[in-house]
Amino acid sequence: MPELSMVQALNAALRHCLAAHDRTLVFGQDVGRLGGVFRVTDGLQHEFGERRVFDTPLAESGIVGVAVGLAMAGWRPVPEIQFDGFSFPALDQMLTNLAKYRGRSRGAYDMPVTLRLPSYGGIGGPEHHSESPESIYAHTAGLKVVTPSCAQEAFNLLVAAIRDPDPVIFMEPKSRYWAKEEVALEPAGLPIGRACVVRAGSDATLVAWGPMVHRCLQVASAAEEDGVSLGVLDLRCLVPLDEATLLTSVAETGRAVVVHEAPRTAGFAAEVSARLMEGAFGSLKAPVQRVTGWDVPYPSGAVEQQYIPSVDRILLAVQRVLDY
């Protein structure tokens, strides 16, 4: 198996889908000759031509709006919005149309649109380049929200998202873009909507997605040195949420810490926590803890490591659930 970065694995997934299905289209800002600002679309225009891989004007609402129309015409659009914060100019098309068109047309039109969104912080980016808007999209019925944590998952989930008949907001963790691992480039064939236990543990369960999965694995390694066994659950998909795996994993340990980069208030950890209350209350030995970004606008790059949940902050939360 080749050792690939997440960027290369995503590129391989796009190449696979463009080759396998000739209705697949890749478009957005700088995705053509440049190959994307992160090079995720590197070489695709050269290989598949300007008809199927093309640059667009700098207009995010336009990118998503034409994706809706292209889907109506029977195409399978995979648009890229260059950075998380720039999905906000497209928010109306995403929430008002992309999410609702199947319903508005009473099922006459599929919306097999996979909107790729380089997301989250950790790369010292300027303002608007480090947002974590997953709860906005998870709160919008009609959208699916998928977010890989590593290169292999990125390949599998992007192929699955593009094959899916519904609109998928595909949030790629920029801070993990360059982490390499061996990647099997055979589509796993799994539907989206399955969580993954990435590390088994018996004392408490860390629940995370996207970039915070790696952070939680660091926490679990550190805790192991102190004789504490932490499991790590990678949700992978926030919508649909694999509630069965979530409840089972947490019931096994009776203690849960949910971790995300997004601000705390109304973040997706609140939803996870509520599901655990509703579905695993009898198994809980301690109140569910959240470790999240602070309730502030994403700060300037120089201080972002004081914003993003650190190993120490997560360990403190683990201590709270263990001591309860």
């Binding site: 289209l25 008809r51 667009t56 004007p57 207009a59 609402s61 336009g62 998503v64 709006g65 034409v66 994706a67 809706v68 129309g69 292209l70 889907a71 109506m72 015409a73 029977g74 195409w75 109306d92 098309q93 008002t96 149309n97 609702k100 068109y101 199947r102 319903g103 508005r104 047309s105 009473r106 099922g107 006459a108 039109y109 599929d110 019925a141 009609g142 699916k144 899916d164 008949p165 519904d166 909507g193 919508v239 649909p240 949420l241 509630e243 069965a244």
Partner: protein, 328 residues
């Protein structure tokens, strides 16, 4: 337009007018929740859509009754949207190539452009036409749609019905410039046409559609029209509009203008009274079919959210079904 097509245009404009008047009555009687009347805009709507081919795709806003009539859309399914039965309408949008009606002003221009880009990618000589008002041109999505259409030479006709009012805000508060001129800024032609003149509308739309079909890209048509009524049945236009303006518009009724044109060309009175009888019959059939039509059951709110409902959604559906009992 030849004589047959002119008569057909009149017949459909009259039908649209009578349906429109009936819809207002149905709202007053509590059969519809709200309705945005389009009386006064029949020539713009009917003549433009008749200039297209059946394979072309229509993207309507919510005030496009005349376009729907011209397109042969099932009127019961169309009107049920205004009874709150289903957002977007209950007609067959694929069969009539008439998209679900867009209520988010201006956002559907981009869908038309995307559809047209898709048709061009397929090498099909099909055209999209999108209907919107002058108010919609103030939305950012309208400019983005013009821009994408120009850059990609999308085969799309932008059909703006400038009726002078966006609810209570007059056109001069929407734009300090003339809307039709915006085409040039985006690299394609714009044209202003008398929206009360069915023949002029037909000619302009035909030219725009043929241009698109030849691969030469979009056209922006600004049709100057008047709405005789309020913005919707929930609006009181006497608060913002002089009655004299409405009276002038009614004196220039596009229906009356086309009737005079036809009569001058020798169409007898009996033909007009036959058309009126036909419209009266259609309206009474609509009234009866609406009264007989059931709204989709409440649990269908779950059924078209995703291609297949995720487990959590299926559970919610069963919860509502249980609450509603046999009425679900």
């Amino acid at each position: 337009m030849d004589a047959d097509r002119l008569r057909e245009t009149y017949r459909l404009m009259l039908l649209a007018r009578r349906y429109d008047e009936e819809a207002v009555r149905l709202q007053r009687q509590g059969e519809l929740v709200a309705f945005p009347p389009m009386s006064g805009q029949e020539a713009a709507q009917v003549a433009s859509v008749l200039a297209l081919s059946p394979a072309d795709m229509v993207f309507p806003s919510y005030r496009e009754l005349g376009v729907a009539v011209g397109r042969g859309v099932d009127m019961t399914g169309y009107m049920l949207a205004f009874r709150g039965a289903w957002n977007g309408g209950l007609y067959d949008c694929r069969r009539n190539r008439f998209a679900p009606m867009a209520s988010s002003v201006g956002s559907h221009l981009l869908h038309a452009v995307g559809w047209a880009m898709g048709a061009r990618l397929d090498g099909r000589d099909e055209v999209a036409i999108v209907y919107f008002g002058e108010g919609a041109t103030s939305e950012g999505d309208a400019s983005e749609a013009f821009n994408f259409a120009g850059v990609f030479r999308a085969p799309v006709v932008f059909f703006c019905q400038n009726n002078g009012w966006a609810i209570s805000v007059p056109a001069e508060r929407q734009s300090a410039g003339e809307i039709w001129r915006r085409g040039e800024a985006f690299g394609f032609p714009g044209v202003r046409v008398d929206g009360g003149d069915a023949e002029a509308v037909f000619a302009a739309t035909s030219a725009a559609a043929e241009r698109a079909r030849r691969g030469e890209g979009p056209t922006l048509i600004e049709a100057l029209t008047h709405r005789f009524g309020p913005h919707s049945t929930a609006d009181d236009d006497t608060r913002y509009r002089e009655r004299a303006e409405v009276e002038t518009a009614r004196r220039n009724d596009p229906l009356g203008r086309l009737r005079a044109r036809l009569a001058a060309s020798g169409v007898p009175d009996s033909w007009f009274s036959d058309a009126e009888d036909e419209a009266r019959l259609a309206v009474s059939e609509l009234r009866a079919s609406l009264a007989a039509a059931e709204n989709p059951p409440a649990v269908e709110m779950f059924d078209f959210v995703y291609a297949a409902p995720p487990p959590a959604l299926a559970l919610q559906r069963s919860q509502l079904e249980e609450l509603l009992g046999p009425d679900a």
